[in-house]
Symmetry: C2
Subunit: 455 residues, 2 copies
């Protein structure tokens, strides 16, 4: 079977690239309303591609940008796989830093440069093309496929959960597949089996009714900026451990196997620091940099605001000061319990000379998949076929909330199969995607359907 | 002699008010360049008033707004008094909170309401009118008078020091008089014998080259916002004492007499807190609220800036974070030594995982005058004559840098004789000045020339 597929992929290689370029020409910037027509056009393009491939697809309207839904479910008795991706892209600023225009895809150095090249048009398209290869060359697929390709991933996926809940029964499946992450490094394909969760909040310290003259009143009342700093400073001890009571109670330590696997990955700390422009790594004592990024919880201030922010000095005691704070979570921390503990931490420590306000934003728990599951084995085998190399198993420090939703709503694990690289300038100027990775991704995807069917 | 003066003041009372209103109609907002013509006009108005009074005056050009200089120096052998004031005013925003237009002076409840009424047009004018009363009714003054009335006090007095240095000899005097402070409370006239000094700086903590994804990188490198908070938190211990080594070394403790004098002043803490909208007083342990405001040094953050400041959350590790910080100083702290100690404090504590930047803004030492000097005795007697009540001796938590300059450059103390009230909405909407205080101020000033001559 795979030989027929291989031939089809070889015969259609150039067309696949041309179609990718067509897709990348559509400026589907979901955040900018003047691009609403373009964003819809990108959804229609995906729908048409699926239909042309033989996967029956439609646009599903939402309050925002439409969701493309497609399915091919004729593989009686075979597993059902849900493919998730997105056709919308990030804004292009700063535009003047692009070497070629973001929506005029340019091929150089073996890469296509365009906004959305890797995030997520190029990566997502590999699954459409692999389905096409199976259906066009053999008339069927070894598994049932359901595609959910949304147009609001870059603006918070506001309508996705409503869609998933409404279609819960229709979306029933055995495993989900998402290609919206990265390989570990060039030449080192990877499967991401764990993501951190998140809680987000804003802490505001209110002092006097309005900004006061720091000469006339300084020394007589609490300064919200100073109080805020004292509160934040208490979040970590000198070893970088978060001091919120109970914070680590439910943290699942890495298994010996996972620590070994992380240690075996090449990691050049000097190059890492140079890339970031940071003088030194830093963080929780007793863990390697990769462990801290992937498998340890954090508590970071994302923004500070208070008092005067213009040029030069201004002699005031500010009326208030605030901090935006996010904690990255790991299994098995409960996001609701953690955010409640963070609020209590601040309430217990906030002096009575100010008034404290605490605002809770979104949250989601960490997700981690069983690295020994048959789905994982199938994915490893498929990537080995597509990339010619056994993938490494990695985690990722960020959060992809839909993975948790799939687990909760549909009861399935998600295979995070990234074809791109961390260095592909996702969200930045000169975003790119390797054409080799594009083709290897299509190969891997085509092999994946067969491997998953073996289960 | 004083009887003739009294009669002149009584006869011309209404005209003085009319002239004050004329002065207040000139929108001399020094900060706003479209008002440059008006600001100059106010300077010309003061020059003309002085000349009409018999004090020979001129406009002295500067890089910015002109300085009015006037002198009457025919009192051979008598002391020479330098009167300082300003004819420029603060901007009027928020305009919609004014009950009557800021440059259409309105008299109600015994007050004139207008921008600049108390700060400093009304207060300063008392000294011009008292000189006029002496010169018009008796043909001479008991002291020599030199007037320096600037037009840039509200924008930092950028050209004043140059003027004072250039005219150092011409400005030679025995004592300076400034009416740009307040009485202690309604019915409690005061002499301000001490001002706090100030140092201002900005502390910036630099982390990665650019904002980073807090999921991908969180836990691996230092977060500038968290580091900044830790640095600021170390500034004070739990008793509100500043922890910068050497900070208190040169602090002159209040004398028993001063503490007694402060304690004897009526101070309603509940009303004070209600006015500020603050739940509780707070500050250095072991000192009363007035002592902390007037005679103890402070270290306040005036502004915090770092990372994301928009709506909702954003998951970044910010590239940098900064704090604007001012310390209020008391005698005998040296501003240069204190700012150097603050910088060293942060450098010693800043972790190597970030880069620290430290910017020093202006500074000036505290000033305090001998409360037993003959000048002070003269001022007390004059105020008793003008207001019918012995003034209390107070300090002020703010800084008036020119007082230090007079000390350094001319070697003289400054008598800070405030006729207004703290509650006169200086710098705010509905600024006002009591007409009784205006007339009592003129009386006090007229008596002051005589009392100072007795020395």
């Amino acid at each position: 079977m795979m030989q027929t597929i291989e031939r089809y992929l070889a015969d259609n290689k150039d067309r696949f690239v041309r179609e990718l370029l067509d897709f990348l020409k559509i400026p589907s910037v979901s955040a900018i309303s003047t691009h609403n027509g373009d964003t819809r056009k990108a959804g229609e393009w995906v729908r048409d591609q699926l239909n042309a491939a033989g996967v029956k697809a439609e646009l599903v309207e939402t309050e925002g940008h439409p969701i493309v839904y497609g399915e091919w479910t004729k593989a009686k008795g075979a597993p059902t796989v849900l493919v998730y991706g997105h056709y919308d892209v990030q804004p292009v600023d700063p535009l003047n830093e692009w070497k070629t225009p973001p929506f005029q895809p340019d091929i150089r150095e073996g890469h296509v440069f365009a906004r959305g090249a890797t995030d997520d048009k190029g990566q997502m398209l590999t699954h459409v093309k692999s389905a096409e290869a199976w259906l066009k060359s053999s008339g069927s697929l070894p598994v049932n496929l359901k595609f959910v390709i949304e147009g609001e991933e870059e603006v918070g996926s506001n309508n996705l959960d409503l869609f998933l809940e409404a279609r819960r029964k229709q979306l029933a499946c055995d495993v989900a597949v998402v290609s919206d992450t990265s390989q570990y490094a060039p030449g080192i394909p990877a499967i991401t089996y764990g993501l951190r969760g998140i809680v987000a909040c804003e802490l505001t310290v209110h002092g006097p009714r309005q900004d006061l003259h720091s000469g006339i009143f300084g020394g007589s009342i609490a300064n919200p900026c100073n109080v805020l700093a004292k509160l934040i400073a208490q979040l970590h001890d000198d070893d970088g451990r978060v001091q919120v009571p109970g914070f680590y109670d439910d943290v699942a330590e890495l298994s010996a196997e996972e620590r070994r696997e992380f240690q075996s990955l090449p990691f050049d700390e000097a190059a890492f620091l140079k890339e970031l422009g940071s003088p030194k790594t830093c963080g929780e004592k007793g863990y390697s940099t990769l462990e801290r990024r992937w498998a340890r919880p954090t508590c970071d201030v994302n923004g500070l605001t208070g008092g005067y922010q213009g040029e030069g000095p201004k002699t005031i005691i500010p009326a208030k000061a605030s901090a935006k704070i996010t904690c990255r979570l790991v299994p098995d921390q409960d996001n609701d319990r953690i955010i409640a503990a963070v609020e209590k931490f601040f309430r217990d420590r906030c002096p009575k000379a100010v008034r404290m306000e605490f605002k809770i934003y979104h949250g989601c728990p960490a997700t981690v998949c069983d690295i020994h599951s048959p789905w994982m084995k199938a994915a490893r085998a498929a990537i080995k076929k597509g990339f010619g190399k056994e993938p490494v198993l990695i985690r990722e420090g960020g959060s992809i909330p839909v993975v948790g939703t799939f687990k909760k709503l549909l009861g399935v694990d998600t295979l995070l199969l990234g074809w791109g690289q961390n260095t592909d300038n996702l969200h930045g100027p000169n975003e790119r995607f390797s054409l080799d990775a594009f083709h290897s991704g299509i190969h891997s995807s085509a092999a994946l359907w067969e491997e998953l069917a073996r289960k």
